[in-house]
Subunit: 282 residues, 4 copies
């Protein structure tokens, strides 16, 4: 499926600052960036970089004096996903056989304090046998119990807050999903991306759970079809995969994000408890 | 310098459990494991594994029924360190030039909520220019202001707790050091190891700050000489580098750790504010 | 109903200390202290005192040097309670008509952060109309979802912790009940007392909710019959009604508490969702 | 000293709501309300009430349907204060001799978790002998270390947050002062009032510490002279003495508060470490 992405970000840079962005569409076996362009105005040197523990495409800029900065990224991306019948496959990979790179996603992280949620998670979801059904129950519980309120939380908010205060945005929904999975010894990671016709238009955050050897996508906000995502990054939580990180005094003054498909036959897919199918972008 | 390590761990395994250990001495350019032995009793199959984002040597075991388990690790390790004159070198590597693998150590993590400590860190340490002196001031502040009390904290305790409650063990001291460094945009990571004649005998936790392109070791407990350490692992915090992680019901019933040098000429080194020297194990 | 109380407390006083106790049976219209005795050994002067905002019977002692202290309180108490049919009466007293002394029990307190639990409380219990049924649902939810584990929490633990970590003792169960009631604008207060044949033997903590003009007792631990209590104190939370408060270095070395009835016809009463009856000690 | 007070509050009441206000000048031996007027528009019945544990003058209104509400309170108040030489008098009243009504101000409360700040408070302030000097050091420490930023915190923010995050408004400054005093076994309470020419114009919050038998006023914001205050209320913290509390959906749309003296000879007074003088309004 081909998606057209357009994101425009404007910043009021108030002091000399280093800015790190993570807005490029990821390149994977199943996701091909057909074309892309990045315009920074004024024309400041941008350096792309990665780290050895992920393929996430970061870029960084050094701003030496106060200014207005505009970043514009456009891309056309071809995304494939696997649709997995989870009736048979939804089995746990035992920790003792798990790939060494997966194990880190079992551990608590800044925004996902799974170590504090173990009794709660076992009480609410421990009795569900099929692993996919278990994570789907977590996903539906979050959707039903957490109120989505724009602007209700900030960059310090974590799953430990959200489980009690019961309000948040997509980032908080994803963090809570991850924390509950890890509390049940299910590897889970943070997923950021562009989402088909997301309203209000913004970057989106979801989570992936490791089920039967595949990373399966879940979106507890239910704001976009699970097959309508273009992956930007994955990480342990938003600390690893923030859209923008600033060292300096920077304010966002405008944000516009669009994601639409150019294919006519796009059929939005949503999970249901009857049809146990999982979407994996790998 | 050659160190002889001996660690004996005994566990009461109460249910079928997976156990992950991280007690092997690390192999690096500057640390050579001359000989080592691992005995598990009863004789259960142990698998060593690593992950792509570190050289930490993990091992895992699957225990299928309740039992007493004894793990005994012995090694002789030759450790070299660089002693760096920090009067000249203690400069910041700008974020914009930092290696992509270093940048993750600027971000908050489970036990090091640096995002919440920025005003405090700038107020207390922001005016110190030399980067090594700044981290040394953090190290000395922790030593002076946090009370070391065995058993006072647990695996949920984080830097956010410790900065206020002012009590903890080596793990908590290290987490607070890391959080304060990251709050000041200094990369910092968790370090576990064996420490020369540590009393009470146990595994030790310290932290490393990234100064002038080197990882410099700091030990805010001041319980061991900074040149008397054998590295086991580094990570973002104790979530990445726990000595032992259990999936199941396991209680530690006995712990004995020894670390002594076999060389006669070992001169313990400690930092001072007069002599700006930093120890780097790399 | 007549109850015989016997409590023996032993302390290791390690430094000069002031000790405040709140272990005397309360005197109310419905609770008569038929006889009581207090023995302190060694024979240190004890002063009883009260404050203007409650009838709680505090006593205090000044210990000038390290010693072993033994406090022994015995009493025979005649307790009456009202059994209220809550099918008709379980109505809210509107805040605008509430007695000025009741209103404080609507506000958050140290261990009952009701301000942070509003969405959760409305989501879980908001739709229940009858006020008694609503509090009974809270009581049953706590009983079903929080694990009672002796020694699992300490004097810093609050409802905000317990709602997530799902473990605690009677004090924590009571705090959570209070916090959830206040979050729903139902006045609620902390209740300490002696409980009929409580096992393990200890002081007990419950909570009272203000329903239809009466303070109705609830015990989310379900460890004692609701008609088997002798009231010691009420307050906003454990900060107001702690059994013992120390200014100095004091360790409890032994605690023995007994509460039995001398009447033959005692019929233990427990709440049920079918029979809407509430117990009020006033 | 005579002060003229004028406060105008406008609210957008979005649902049927009960509103409680605490904006009337307190009547005490040393504070005489010479004249006052309250206008509510539309003309809704207002009931004044008090509780038995304070003289605070609360009023409450029942709003039955959505509306704009305007509350206007004007008063002329004659305030006397005692100026106490704290070189001699600044002695601790031992807990064992303290009036029963004072003791509650030693205990932790919702926004003042003094139980968690004991080590920190002893480390920072424990060695100062004179009690007034000790509280003045707390006051100055807060002034120097906490950044005053309008709008930076909300009604959930507590001293436990502020001691670490180092930012807040007058309410947060007062809560931290109270928590640090109580951590050192000094009774302390929350004080709200009108402050002489406060800029930005608003209600003000300070704290009082119990020193040598007097309640001495401290203002860690240093935004108003300590002799320029008209007391509205005291309480354990903002939970007891909030300017406005709503049960329902209410938004404040405008706030204007003025406080000026009508006397020509007003000499603003501020504390200094040289001149040990304390202001007590009783």
């Amino acid at each position: 499926m081909k998606f057209k992405i357009n994101s425009e970000l404007e910043y009021n840079v108030l002091s000399a600052s280093t800015m790190i962005f993570n807005i490029h569409a990821l390149r994977t076996l199943n996701q091909t960036v057909l074309e892309e362009s990045l315009i920074v105005n004024p024309d400041i040197r941008v350096e792309e970089f990665t780290s050895s523990n992920s393929a996430n495409r970061f870029m960084r800029l050094q701003i030496d004096k106060p200014m207005q900065l505009k970043v514009s990224y456009k891309a056309t991306v071809d995304t494939q996903y696997k649709l997995i019948d989870e009736r048979q496959e939804a089995k746990t990979v035992p920790v003792v056989k798990m790939d060494g790179d997966i194990i880190q996603f079992l551990f608590p992280s800044r925004y996902c304090q799974s170590d504090k949620l173990q009794r709660l998670a076992y009480k609410e979801f421990g009795q569900i046998e099929n692993l996919y059904s278990k994570v789907l129950a977590i996903n539906d519980w979050i959707y039903s119990n957490i109120e989505y309120v724009s602007g209700s939380t900030d960059s310090h908010t974590s799953a430990y807050d959200t489980i009690t205060e019961r309000v948040g945005v997509c980032r908080d929904f994803a963090h809570l999903g991850i924390a509950l999975c890890r509390a049940l010894s299910i590897p889970a990671r943070y997923f950021t991306g562009y989402a088909f016709k997301l309203n209000p238009p913004d970057f989106h955050a979801c989570f992936e759970a490791y089920i039967g050897g595949n990373w399966i996508l879940f979106d507890p906000t239910k704001l976009a079809p699970v097959n309508g995502l273009v992956k930007i990054a994955t990480g342990r939580d938003a600390a690893d995969a923030a859209v923008a990180t600033f060292f300096g005094n920077v304010r966002c003054s405008r944000l516009n994000v669009e994601c639409d498909t150019t294919d006519s036959g796009f059929v939005p897919l949503n999970y249901s408890t009857e049809k146990l199918e999982g979407v994996s972008y790998q």
